[in-house]
Protein backbone atom coordinates (compact mmCIF):
# COMPACT_ATOMS: atom_id res chain seq x y z
CA UNK A 1 0.00 0.00 0.00
CA UNK A 2 2.93 2.31 0.67
CA UNK A 3 3.77 2.29 -3.03
CA UNK A 4 0.23 3.47 -3.85
CA UNK A 5 0.63 6.31 -1.37
CA UNK A 6 3.92 7.31 -2.97
CA UNK A 7 2.41 7.11 -6.44
CA UNK A 8 -0.55 9.27 -5.42
CA UNK A 9 1.86 11.85 -3.96
CA UNK A 10 3.92 11.90 -7.15
CA UNK A 11 0.75 12.30 -9.21
CA UNK A 12 -0.32 15.24 -7.02
CA UNK A 13 3.07 16.90 -7.44
CA UNK A 14 3.06 16.33 -11.21
CA UNK A 15 -0.46 17.60 -11.81
CA UNK A 16 -0.04 20.68 -9.66
CA UNK A 17 2.92 21.70 -11.81
CA UNK A 18 2.97 23.06 -15.36
CA UNK A 19 4.70 19.97 -16.71
CA UNK A 20 1.51 18.19 -17.90
CA UNK A 21 0.37 21.23 -19.87
CA UNK A 22 3.84 21.88 -21.30
CA UNK A 23 4.35 18.27 -22.38
CA UNK A 24 0.84 17.96 -23.82
CA UNK A 25 1.42 21.07 -25.93
CA UNK A 26 4.85 19.80 -27.03
CA UNK A 27 3.41 16.38 -27.90
CA UNK A 28 0.53 17.92 -29.85
CA UNK A 29 3.01 19.50 -32.24
CA UNK A 30 3.82 16.04 -33.61
CA UNK A 31 0.37 15.15 -35.05
CA UNK A 32 -0.34 18.72 -36.11
CA UNK A 33 2.90 19.07 -38.06
CA UNK A 34 2.50 15.55 -39.45
CA UNK A 35 -1.02 16.38 -40.60
CA UNK A 36 0.19 19.66 -42.04
CA UNK A 37 2.86 17.88 -44.12
CA UNK A 38 0.28 15.38 -45.36
CA UNK A 39 -2.08 18.21 -46.26
CA UNK A 40 0.65 19.79 -48.38
CA UNK A 41 1.68 16.48 -49.95
CA UNK A 42 -1.89 15.81 -50.97
CA UNK A 43 -1.84 18.94 -53.16
CA UNK A 44 1.52 19.24 -55.03
CA UNK A 45 0.58 22.58 -56.59
CA UNK A 46 0.05 24.11 -53.20
CA UNK A 47 3.29 22.42 -52.07
CA UNK A 48 5.30 24.10 -54.87
CA UNK A 49 3.70 27.41 -54.04
CA UNK A 50 4.88 27.16 -50.45
CA UNK A 51 8.58 26.80 -51.41
CA UNK A 52 10.74 25.61 -48.50
CA UNK A 53 7.97 23.84 -46.62
CA UNK A 54 6.91 21.93 -49.71
CA UNK A 55 10.52 20.87 -50.40
CA UNK A 56 10.82 19.47 -46.88
CA UNK A 57 7.42 17.87 -47.12
CA UNK A 58 8.40 15.95 -50.25
CA UNK A 59 11.05 14.13 -48.23
CA UNK A 60 8.31 12.58 -46.09
CA UNK A 61 7.19 10.46 -49.02
CA UNK A 62 3.65 10.06 -50.24
CA UNK A 63 0.49 11.37 -48.75
CA UNK A 64 -0.83 8.06 -47.48
CA UNK A 65 -1.46 6.42 -44.13
CA UNK A 66 1.72 4.25 -44.02
CA UNK A 67 3.89 7.35 -44.59
CA UNK A 68 1.88 9.38 -42.12
CA UNK A 69 1.98 6.77 -39.33
CA UNK A 70 5.69 6.23 -40.06
CA UNK A 71 6.22 9.96 -39.68
CA UNK A 72 4.44 9.93 -36.30
CA UNK A 73 6.55 6.97 -35.13
CA UNK A 74 9.78 8.69 -36.23
CA UNK A 75 8.77 11.90 -34.51
CA UNK A 76 7.96 10.11 -31.24
CA UNK A 77 11.26 8.16 -31.47
CA UNK A 78 13.33 11.34 -31.81
CA UNK A 79 11.16 14.02 -30.16
CA UNK A 80 10.17 11.57 -27.44
CA UNK A 81 13.77 11.39 -26.25
CA UNK A 82 13.42 15.07 -25.40
CA UNK A 83 9.81 15.14 -24.18
CA UNK A 84 10.00 11.97 -22.07
CA UNK A 85 13.48 12.89 -20.89
CA UNK A 86 12.16 16.29 -19.87
CA UNK A 87 9.42 14.70 -17.75
CA UNK A 88 11.91 12.33 -16.15
CA UNK A 89 14.43 15.07 -15.42
CA UNK A 90 11.73 17.22 -13.83
CA UNK A 91 10.31 14.43 -11.66
CA UNK A 92 13.74 13.64 -10.21
CA UNK A 93 15.65 16.88 -10.68
CA UNK A 94 13.04 19.12 -9.07
CA UNK A 95 13.57 17.43 -5.70
CA UNK A 96 17.17 18.63 -5.85
CA UNK A 97 16.64 22.02 -7.43
CA UNK A 98 13.74 22.82 -5.04
CA UNK A 99 15.76 21.19 -2.22
CA UNK A 100 12.76 19.13 -1.18
CA UNK A 101 14.87 15.97 -1.39
CA UNK A 102 15.80 16.43 2.29
CA UNK A 103 12.21 15.74 3.28
CA UNK A 104 12.20 12.43 1.43
CA UNK A 105 15.32 10.82 2.84
CA UNK A 106 14.74 10.30 6.56
CA UNK A 107 11.26 8.83 6.53
CA UNK A 108 9.80 5.57 7.75
CA UNK A 109 9.42 4.65 4.10
CA UNK A 110 12.01 3.07 1.85
CA UNK A 111 13.83 5.36 -0.55
CA UNK A 112 13.50 2.59 -3.15
CA UNK A 113 9.72 2.95 -3.01
CA UNK A 114 9.97 6.69 -3.55
CA UNK A 115 12.26 6.19 -6.55
CA UNK A 116 10.07 3.42 -7.94
CA UNK A 117 6.92 5.53 -7.61
CA UNK A 118 8.66 8.34 -9.47
CA UNK A 119 9.54 5.98 -12.30
CA UNK A 120 6.01 4.57 -12.42
CA UNK A 121 4.40 8.01 -12.58
CA UNK A 122 6.87 9.21 -15.21
CA UNK A 123 6.36 6.14 -17.39
CA UNK A 124 2.57 6.32 -17.02
CA UNK A 125 2.52 9.99 -17.97
CA UNK A 126 4.82 9.37 -20.95
CA UNK A 127 2.58 6.52 -22.10
CA UNK A 128 -0.42 8.84 -21.86
CA UNK A 129 1.46 11.40 -23.96
CA UNK A 130 2.30 8.74 -26.55
CA UNK A 131 -1.33 7.60 -26.72
CA UNK A 132 -2.38 11.23 -27.05
CA UNK A 133 -0.02 11.69 -30.00
CA UNK A 134 -1.37 8.53 -31.63
CA UNK A 135 -5.07 9.28 -31.09
CA UNK A 136 -4.67 12.90 -32.07
CA UNK A 137 -2.57 11.79 -35.05
CA UNK A 138 -5.28 9.46 -36.32
CA UNK A 139 -7.88 12.17 -35.79
CA UNK A 140 -5.79 14.73 -37.71
CA UNK A 141 -5.18 12.15 -40.46
CA UNK A 142 -8.92 11.60 -40.78
CA UNK A 143 -9.59 15.35 -40.88
CA UNK A 144 -6.91 15.84 -43.57
CA UNK A 145 -8.47 12.84 -45.32
CA UNK A 146 -5.22 11.04 -46.03
CA UNK A 147 -5.82 8.30 -48.60
CA UNK A 148 -5.04 4.61 -48.14
CA UNK A 149 -6.89 3.82 -44.90
CA UNK A 150 -7.19 0.12 -44.15
CA UNK A 151 -7.34 -1.83 -40.94
CA UNK A 152 -4.11 -3.73 -41.73
CA UNK A 153 -2.16 -0.57 -42.49
CA UNK A 154 -3.45 1.18 -39.40
CA UNK A 155 -2.71 -1.79 -37.13
CA UNK A 156 0.78 -2.14 -38.59
CA UNK A 157 1.40 1.61 -38.16
CA UNK A 158 0.06 1.60 -34.61
CA UNK A 159 2.24 -1.39 -33.74
CA UNK A 160 5.40 0.35 -34.99
CA UNK A 161 4.40 3.57 -33.22
CA UNK A 162 3.75 1.83 -29.91
CA UNK A 163 7.03 -0.11 -30.12
CA UNK A 164 9.03 3.04 -30.90
CA UNK A 165 7.28 5.06 -28.17
CA UNK A 166 7.67 2.33 -25.54
CA UNK A 167 11.36 1.88 -26.25
CA UNK A 168 11.89 5.66 -26.19
CA UNK A 169 10.12 5.87 -22.82
CA UNK A 170 12.25 3.02 -21.48
CA UNK A 171 15.35 4.91 -22.55
CA UNK A 172 14.47 7.86 -20.36
CA UNK A 173 15.41 6.07 -17.11
CA UNK A 174 19.13 6.99 -17.27
CA UNK A 175 18.00 10.64 -17.35
CA UNK A 176 16.77 10.12 -13.77
CA UNK A 177 20.25 9.08 -12.72
CA UNK A 178 21.80 12.20 -14.22
CA UNK A 179 19.10 14.39 -12.63
CA UNK A 180 19.83 12.82 -9.23
CA UNK A 181 23.59 12.70 -9.39
CA UNK A 182 23.75 16.13 -11.05
CA UNK A 183 21.24 17.48 -8.47
CA UNK A 184 19.06 19.35 -10.91
CA UNK A 185 18.25 19.81 -14.55
CA UNK A 186 21.54 20.70 -16.23
CA UNK A 187 23.14 17.24 -16.27
CA UNK A 188 20.05 15.44 -17.61
CA UNK A 189 19.59 18.11 -20.25
CA UNK A 190 23.19 17.68 -21.37
CA UNK A 191 22.77 13.93 -21.35
CA UNK A 192 19.60 14.09 -23.49
CA UNK A 193 21.20 16.33 -26.10
CA UNK A 194 24.33 14.19 -26.11
CA UNK A 195 22.42 10.95 -26.68
CA UNK A 196 20.19 12.55 -29.30
CA UNK A 197 23.18 13.74 -31.33
CA UNK A 198 25.17 10.56 -30.80
CA UNK A 199 22.17 8.45 -31.86
CA UNK A 200 22.17 10.17 -35.27
CA UNK A 201 25.91 9.75 -35.71
CA UNK A 202 25.96 6.09 -34.69
CA UNK A 203 22.92 5.32 -36.87
CA UNK A 204 24.66 6.96 -39.82
CA UNK A 205 27.70 4.70 -39.35
CA UNK A 206 25.47 1.63 -39.66
CA UNK A 207 25.78 0.42 -36.08
CA UNK A 208 22.59 2.00 -34.83
CA UNK A 209 21.07 -1.34 -33.93
CA UNK A 210 23.68 -1.67 -31.18
CA UNK A 211 23.30 1.83 -29.77
CA UNK A 212 20.20 2.00 -27.55
CA UNK A 213 19.23 5.58 -28.38
CA UNK A 214 19.28 4.81 -32.13
CA UNK A 215 17.06 1.74 -31.87
CA UNK A 216 13.60 3.38 -31.53
CA UNK A 217 14.27 5.62 -34.52
CA UNK A 218 15.48 2.66 -36.60
CA UNK A 219 12.37 0.68 -35.64
CA UNK A 220 10.24 3.65 -36.68
CA UNK A 221 11.81 3.40 -40.14
CA UNK A 222 13.73 6.63 -40.05
CA UNK A 223 16.55 5.04 -42.06
CA UNK A 224 14.31 3.64 -44.78
CA UNK A 225 14.59 -0.13 -45.10
CA UNK A 226 17.18 -0.52 -42.33
CA UNK A 227 14.42 -1.33 -39.85
CA UNK A 228 14.82 -4.89 -41.07
CA UNK A 229 18.18 -4.99 -39.22
CA UNK A 230 16.53 -4.58 -35.83
CA UNK A 231 16.62 -7.88 -34.02
CA UNK A 232 16.04 -9.11 -30.51
CA UNK A 233 19.52 -8.00 -29.48
CA UNK A 234 18.62 -4.35 -30.12
CA UNK A 235 15.51 -4.62 -27.97
CA UNK A 236 17.57 -6.38 -25.28
CA UNK A 237 20.15 -3.56 -25.36
CA UNK A 238 17.38 -0.97 -24.86
CA UNK A 239 15.87 -2.96 -21.99
CA UNK A 240 19.29 -3.40 -20.41
CA UNK A 241 19.99 0.34 -20.68
CA UNK A 242 16.63 1.07 -19.10
CA UNK A 243 17.30 -1.36 -16.26
CA UNK A 244 20.70 0.22 -15.76
CA UNK A 245 19.07 3.65 -15.49
CA UNK A 246 16.55 2.37 -12.97
CA UNK A 247 19.04 0.55 -10.78
CA UNK A 248 21.70 3.25 -10.89
CA UNK A 249 19.13 5.86 -9.80
CA UNK A 250 17.85 3.63 -7.00
CA UNK A 251 21.42 2.93 -5.93
CA UNK A 252 22.22 6.64 -5.93
CA UNK A 253 19.25 7.53 -3.73
CA UNK A 254 20.01 4.67 -1.39
CA UNK A 255 23.78 4.86 -1.02
CA UNK A 256 25.17 8.20 -2.19
CA UNK A 257 25.83 10.99 0.30
CA UNK A 258 23.00 13.50 -0.04
CA UNK A 259 24.82 16.76 0.60
CA UNK A 260 21.99 19.02 -0.48
Amino acid sequence: MKILTCISIEITKLFRSRIPLMTILASMLIPFFGGFFMFILKDPDLAKGLGFISAKAQIMGDADWPSYLGLLAQAIAVGGLLIFGFVMSWIFGREYSDRTIKDLLALPISRNLIVLSKFIVTILWCLILAVLVLVLGILVGKIVDIPGWSADIILQGISVFITSATLTILLSTPVAFFASSGRGYLSPLGFMIFTLVLAQIVAATGYGQFFPWSVPALISGIAGDSDAKIEAISIAIVCLTSALGLFSTTFWWRYADQEI
Binding site: T5, C6, K13, T100, D103, L105, A106, I109, R111, R254
Partner: protein, 312 residues
Protein backbone atom coordinates in the same frame (compact mmCIF):
# COMPACT_ATOMS: atom_id res chain seq x y z
CA UNK B 1 17.98 8.77 31.98
CA UNK B 2 17.70 6.91 28.72
CA UNK B 3 20.12 7.87 25.99
CA UNK B 4 18.12 8.79 22.90
CA UNK B 5 20.63 10.31 20.50
CA UNK B 6 24.24 9.23 20.52
CA UNK B 7 27.31 8.95 18.34
CA UNK B 8 30.41 6.86 18.77
CA UNK B 9 33.69 8.08 17.31
CA UNK B 10 31.71 9.64 14.50
CA UNK B 11 34.03 10.79 11.74
CA UNK B 12 33.46 12.23 8.30
CA UNK B 13 36.39 12.98 6.05
CA UNK B 14 36.12 14.91 2.78
CA UNK B 15 39.36 14.48 0.87
CA UNK B 16 41.90 15.31 3.55
CA UNK B 17 39.57 17.47 5.63
CA UNK B 18 37.98 16.13 8.79
CA UNK B 19 34.49 17.64 8.80
CA UNK B 20 33.70 15.66 11.94
CA UNK B 21 36.40 13.99 13.99
CA UNK B 22 35.72 11.18 16.47
CA UNK B 23 32.63 12.86 17.80
CA UNK B 24 30.95 11.32 20.81
CA UNK B 25 27.55 12.77 21.62
CA UNK B 26 25.06 11.67 24.19
CA UNK B 27 21.63 13.22 24.41
CA UNK B 28 19.25 11.89 27.02
CA UNK B 29 15.49 11.75 26.94
CA UNK B 30 13.76 15.08 27.44
CA UNK B 31 16.94 17.09 27.03
CA UNK B 32 17.16 20.10 24.77
CA UNK B 33 20.65 19.76 23.48
CA UNK B 34 22.11 22.95 22.05
CA UNK B 35 24.72 22.20 19.45
CA UNK B 36 26.79 25.27 18.68
CA UNK B 37 29.83 26.05 16.63
CA UNK B 38 31.25 28.32 13.97
CA UNK B 39 30.34 27.89 10.29
CA UNK B 40 31.99 24.75 9.01
CA UNK B 41 32.55 23.40 12.54
CA UNK B 42 30.73 20.18 11.65
CA UNK B 43 27.22 20.79 13.04
CA UNK B 44 25.28 20.21 9.85
CA UNK B 45 27.44 17.27 8.78
CA UNK B 46 26.78 15.64 12.16
CA UNK B 47 23.05 16.26 11.77
CA UNK B 48 23.12 14.83 8.25
CA UNK B 49 24.83 11.70 9.54
CA UNK B 50 22.29 11.40 12.37
CA UNK B 51 19.56 11.41 9.74
CA UNK B 52 21.27 8.99 7.39
CA UNK B 53 21.64 11.60 4.63
CA UNK B 54 25.41 11.23 4.72
CA UNK B 55 27.36 8.12 5.61
CA UNK B 56 30.05 8.40 8.30
CA UNK B 57 33.59 7.61 7.18
CA UNK B 58 33.97 5.78 10.47
CA UNK B 59 31.95 5.60 13.65
CA UNK B 60 28.26 5.24 14.26
CA UNK B 61 25.09 7.17 15.05
CA UNK B 62 22.32 5.79 17.20
CA UNK B 63 18.74 6.94 17.63
CA UNK B 64 16.84 5.31 20.48
CA UNK B 65 19.63 2.76 20.67
CA UNK B 66 19.31 1.69 17.06
CA UNK B 67 22.09 2.26 14.59
CA UNK B 68 21.31 4.82 11.90
CA UNK B 69 21.46 3.48 8.41
CA UNK B 70 19.63 4.81 5.34
CA UNK B 71 18.11 1.38 4.79
CA UNK B 72 16.80 1.15 8.33
CA UNK B 73 13.74 3.30 7.65
CA UNK B 74 11.68 2.37 10.71
CA UNK B 75 14.23 4.20 12.86
CA UNK B 76 12.91 7.50 11.49
CA UNK B 77 9.29 6.86 12.50
CA UNK B 78 9.73 8.90 15.68
CA UNK B 79 12.10 11.48 14.28
CA UNK B 80 11.24 14.97 13.09
CA UNK B 81 13.87 17.16 11.53
CA UNK B 82 14.89 20.34 9.80
CA UNK B 83 18.22 20.46 7.98
CA UNK B 84 19.27 24.04 7.34
CA UNK B 85 16.54 26.03 5.56
CA UNK B 86 13.34 24.02 5.20
CA UNK B 87 11.94 23.86 1.70
CA UNK B 88 8.47 22.85 0.57
CA UNK B 89 6.91 22.13 -2.81
CA UNK B 90 6.35 25.68 -4.07
CA UNK B 91 3.41 24.88 -6.34
CA UNK B 92 1.49 23.11 -3.57
CA UNK B 93 -0.46 24.83 -0.83
CA UNK B 94 0.52 24.74 2.83
CA UNK B 95 -2.19 22.13 3.47
CA UNK B 96 -1.10 20.01 0.51
CA UNK B 97 2.51 20.07 1.67
CA UNK B 98 1.44 18.94 5.12
CA UNK B 99 -0.82 16.25 3.64
CA UNK B 100 2.17 14.88 1.72
CA UNK B 101 4.19 14.59 4.93
CA UNK B 102 1.24 12.99 6.73
CA UNK B 103 0.88 10.39 3.99
CA UNK B 104 4.61 9.72 3.69
CA UNK B 105 4.77 9.15 7.44
CA UNK B 106 1.90 6.69 7.18
CA UNK B 107 -0.35 8.67 9.50
CA UNK B 108 -4.03 7.71 9.31
CA UNK B 109 -5.19 10.61 11.47
CA UNK B 110 -6.28 13.33 9.03
CA UNK B 111 -6.89 15.77 11.89
CA UNK B 112 -3.16 15.93 12.53
CA UNK B 113 -2.89 18.39 9.64
CA UNK B 114 -5.51 20.68 11.20
CA UNK B 115 -3.83 20.29 14.59
CA UNK B 116 -0.41 21.33 13.35
CA UNK B 117 -1.82 24.19 11.25
CA UNK B 118 -3.40 25.57 14.41
CA UNK B 119 -0.33 24.88 16.53
CA UNK B 120 1.99 26.79 14.17
CA UNK B 121 -0.60 29.51 13.54
CA UNK B 122 -0.78 28.80 9.84
CA UNK B 123 -4.60 29.01 9.65
CA UNK B 124 -4.52 32.05 7.41
CA UNK B 125 -2.21 30.42 4.90
CA UNK B 126 -3.62 26.92 4.38
CA UNK B 127 -4.64 27.63 0.78
CA UNK B 128 -1.58 29.69 -0.04
CA UNK B 129 1.10 28.15 -2.21
CA UNK B 130 4.28 27.41 -0.29
CA UNK B 131 6.28 29.28 -2.91
CA UNK B 132 4.40 32.47 -2.04
CA UNK B 133 5.00 32.29 1.73
CA UNK B 134 7.16 34.78 3.57
CA UNK B 135 10.46 33.49 4.98
CA UNK B 136 8.98 33.30 8.46
CA UNK B 137 5.90 31.39 7.38
CA UNK B 138 7.99 29.05 5.23
CA UNK B 139 9.99 28.36 8.39
CA UNK B 140 6.78 27.72 10.34
CA UNK B 141 5.72 25.29 7.64
CA UNK B 142 9.09 23.55 7.94
CA UNK B 143 8.64 23.23 11.71
CA UNK B 144 5.07 22.00 11.17
CA UNK B 145 6.35 19.28 8.84
CA UNK B 146 8.94 18.29 11.44
CA UNK B 147 6.47 17.83 14.28
CA UNK B 148 3.20 16.86 12.55
CA UNK B 149 3.70 13.21 13.57
CA UNK B 150 4.40 14.07 17.22
CA UNK B 151 7.95 12.70 17.12
CA UNK B 152 9.90 11.56 20.18
CA UNK B 153 13.12 12.97 18.72
CA UNK B 154 13.54 16.36 17.08
CA UNK B 155 16.71 17.24 15.21
CA UNK B 156 16.59 20.88 14.25
CA UNK B 157 19.20 22.82 12.35
CA UNK B 158 18.57 26.57 12.69
CA UNK B 159 14.85 26.24 13.48
CA UNK B 160 14.25 29.94 14.16
CA UNK B 161 15.81 31.26 10.96
CA UNK B 162 13.65 33.92 9.38
CA UNK B 163 11.17 34.07 12.24
CA UNK B 164 10.15 37.40 13.72
CA UNK B 165 10.69 37.96 17.48
CA UNK B 166 7.15 36.79 18.23
CA UNK B 167 7.68 33.67 16.13
CA UNK B 168 10.97 32.95 17.91
CA UNK B 169 9.26 33.11 21.30
CA UNK B 170 6.42 30.88 20.08
CA UNK B 171 8.78 28.28 18.69
CA UNK B 172 10.89 28.39 21.86
CA UNK B 173 7.80 27.82 23.99
CA UNK B 174 6.62 25.06 21.69
CA UNK B 175 9.94 23.23 21.89
CA UNK B 176 10.19 23.67 25.66
CA UNK B 177 6.67 22.36 26.01
CA UNK B 178 7.48 19.32 23.86
CA UNK B 179 10.57 18.55 25.93
CA UNK B 180 9.16 19.29 29.37
CA UNK B 181 5.65 17.90 29.03
CA UNK B 182 5.98 15.21 26.41
CA UNK B 183 9.53 14.04 26.97
CA UNK B 184 10.60 14.86 23.44
CA UNK B 185 14.36 14.85 23.03
CA UNK B 186 15.59 17.80 21.02
CA UNK B 187 18.94 18.41 19.39
CA UNK B 188 19.03 21.96 18.16
CA UNK B 189 21.78 23.72 16.32
CA UNK B 190 21.74 27.45 15.85
CA UNK B 191 23.84 30.53 15.35
CA UNK B 192 21.50 32.43 17.63
CA UNK B 193 23.37 31.75 20.84
CA UNK B 194 21.06 33.87 22.94
CA UNK B 195 18.21 31.68 21.78
CA UNK B 196 20.15 28.52 22.54
CA UNK B 197 21.03 29.78 26.01
CA UNK B 198 17.34 30.32 26.77
CA UNK B 199 16.22 27.05 25.27
CA UNK B 200 18.86 24.41 25.86
CA UNK B 201 19.25 22.28 28.96
CA UNK B 202 22.64 21.09 27.72
CA UNK B 203 25.15 22.73 25.46
CA UNK B 204 27.89 21.31 23.35
CA UNK B 205 30.46 23.37 21.48
CA UNK B 206 31.85 21.82 18.35
CA UNK B 207 34.99 23.14 16.73
CA UNK B 208 36.91 21.72 13.78
CA UNK B 209 34.74 18.63 13.95
CA UNK B 210 35.46 17.93 17.64
CA UNK B 211 33.48 18.64 20.79
CA UNK B 212 35.57 21.08 22.81
CA UNK B 213 33.07 21.77 25.58
CA UNK B 214 30.04 19.95 26.85
CA UNK B 215 28.07 21.14 29.84
CA UNK B 216 24.58 21.42 31.27
CA UNK B 217 22.82 24.63 32.18
CA UNK B 218 24.03 24.59 35.79
CA UNK B 219 27.63 23.98 34.82
CA UNK B 220 27.38 26.72 32.24
CA UNK B 221 26.04 29.12 34.85
CA UNK B 222 29.08 28.34 37.00
CA UNK B 223 31.48 28.97 34.16
CA UNK B 224 30.12 32.30 33.03
CA UNK B 225 32.55 34.88 34.34
CA UNK B 226 31.58 38.20 35.90
CA UNK B 227 33.58 41.38 35.39
CA UNK B 228 33.29 44.98 36.45
CA UNK B 229 33.25 47.26 33.44
CA UNK B 230 34.85 50.64 33.95
CA UNK B 231 34.69 53.34 31.33
CA UNK B 232 35.43 57.00 31.09
CA UNK B 233 37.81 59.62 29.73
CA UNK B 234 41.56 59.16 30.05
CA UNK B 235 41.30 55.44 30.03
CA UNK B 236 45.05 54.90 30.43
CA UNK B 237 45.18 57.03 33.59
CA UNK B 238 42.25 55.11 35.03
CA UNK B 239 44.00 51.84 34.25
CA UNK B 240 47.20 53.00 36.02
CA UNK B 241 45.27 54.16 39.11
CA UNK B 242 43.39 50.86 39.37
CA UNK B 243 46.51 48.77 38.74
CA UNK B 244 48.48 50.71 41.38
CA UNK B 245 45.64 49.99 43.81
CA UNK B 246 46.22 46.29 43.13
CA UNK B 247 43.30 45.48 40.87
CA UNK B 248 43.66 43.15 37.88
CA UNK B 249 42.66 45.42 35.02
CA UNK B 250 42.56 44.28 31.43
CA UNK B 251 41.81 46.22 28.25
CA UNK B 252 40.11 43.36 26.47
CA UNK B 253 39.12 40.46 28.64
CA UNK B 254 35.76 38.96 27.86
CA UNK B 255 34.59 39.78 24.36
CA UNK B 256 31.07 41.16 24.80
CA UNK B 257 31.02 42.05 21.16
CA UNK B 258 30.44 45.72 22.04
CA UNK B 259 31.73 48.59 19.94
CA UNK B 260 33.19 50.43 22.93
CA UNK B 261 35.58 48.34 24.97
CA UNK B 262 35.67 49.55 28.59
CA UNK B 263 38.29 48.37 31.07
CA UNK B 264 37.49 45.11 32.76
CA UNK B 265 38.27 44.28 36.40
CA UNK B 266 38.11 40.62 37.26
CA UNK B 267 38.70 40.81 41.05
CA UNK B 268 35.83 39.51 43.16
CA UNK B 269 36.32 42.40 45.57
CA UNK B 270 35.68 44.96 42.83
CA UNK B 271 32.76 42.99 41.40
CA UNK B 272 31.12 42.68 44.81
CA UNK B 273 31.84 46.30 45.84
CA UNK B 274 31.97 48.53 42.75
CA UNK B 275 31.49 51.59 44.95
CA UNK B 276 35.09 51.15 46.11
CA UNK B 277 36.28 51.56 42.52
CA UNK B 278 34.05 54.61 42.06
CA UNK B 279 35.42 56.22 45.19
CA UNK B 280 39.00 55.48 44.18
CA UNK B 281 38.60 56.98 40.72
CA UNK B 282 36.67 60.04 41.92
CA UNK B 283 39.34 60.78 44.52
CA UNK B 284 41.99 60.49 41.81
CA UNK B 285 40.09 63.02 39.69
CA UNK B 286 38.88 60.53 37.07
CA UNK B 287 35.22 59.85 37.82
CA UNK B 288 34.01 56.84 35.79
CA UNK B 289 31.35 57.36 33.15
CA UNK B 290 30.55 53.66 33.20
CA UNK B 291 30.59 51.29 36.15
CA UNK B 292 28.72 48.09 35.59
CA UNK B 293 28.94 44.47 36.67
CA UNK B 294 28.36 42.27 33.73
CA UNK B 295 28.19 38.51 33.38
CA UNK B 296 29.31 36.69 30.29
CA UNK B 297 26.51 35.55 28.05
CA UNK B 298 26.67 32.37 25.99
CA UNK B 299 28.04 34.29 23.03
CA UNK B 300 30.92 35.71 25.05
CA UNK B 301 31.52 32.34 26.69
CA UNK B 302 31.51 30.67 23.28
CA UNK B 303 34.08 33.16 21.96
CA UNK B 304 36.22 32.69 25.08
CA UNK B 305 36.15 28.91 24.73
CA UNK B 306 37.16 29.21 21.09
CA UNK B 307 39.93 31.64 22.04
CA UNK B 308 41.19 29.20 24.63
CA UNK B 309 41.09 26.49 22.00
CA UNK B 310 43.44 28.64 19.96
CA UNK B 311 40.97 30.12 17.51
CA UNK B 312 39.29 33.49 16.88
Amino acid sequence: MKEVISTTNLTKIYGETYAVNKLNLSVKQGEIFGFIGLNGAGKTTTIRMLLGLVKPTTGYCYLQGRRVNAGNTSIFRNVGYIVETPYSYPELTVRENLEIVRKLRGMEDRDSVNWIIKKLKLEGYTSKRAGHLSLGNAQRLGIAKAIIHRPKILILDEPTNGLDPEGIVEVRQLLMNLANNQGVTILVSSHKLEEISRLATNISIIHNGCIIKELDKKQLEGQLKKVLLVGGEERNNMKSILSEAGYRVVDEGIDFNDEIKPLQIQDDDAINSPEKIATLLVKAGHPPALLKVRQEDLESYFLRVLKEAGEV
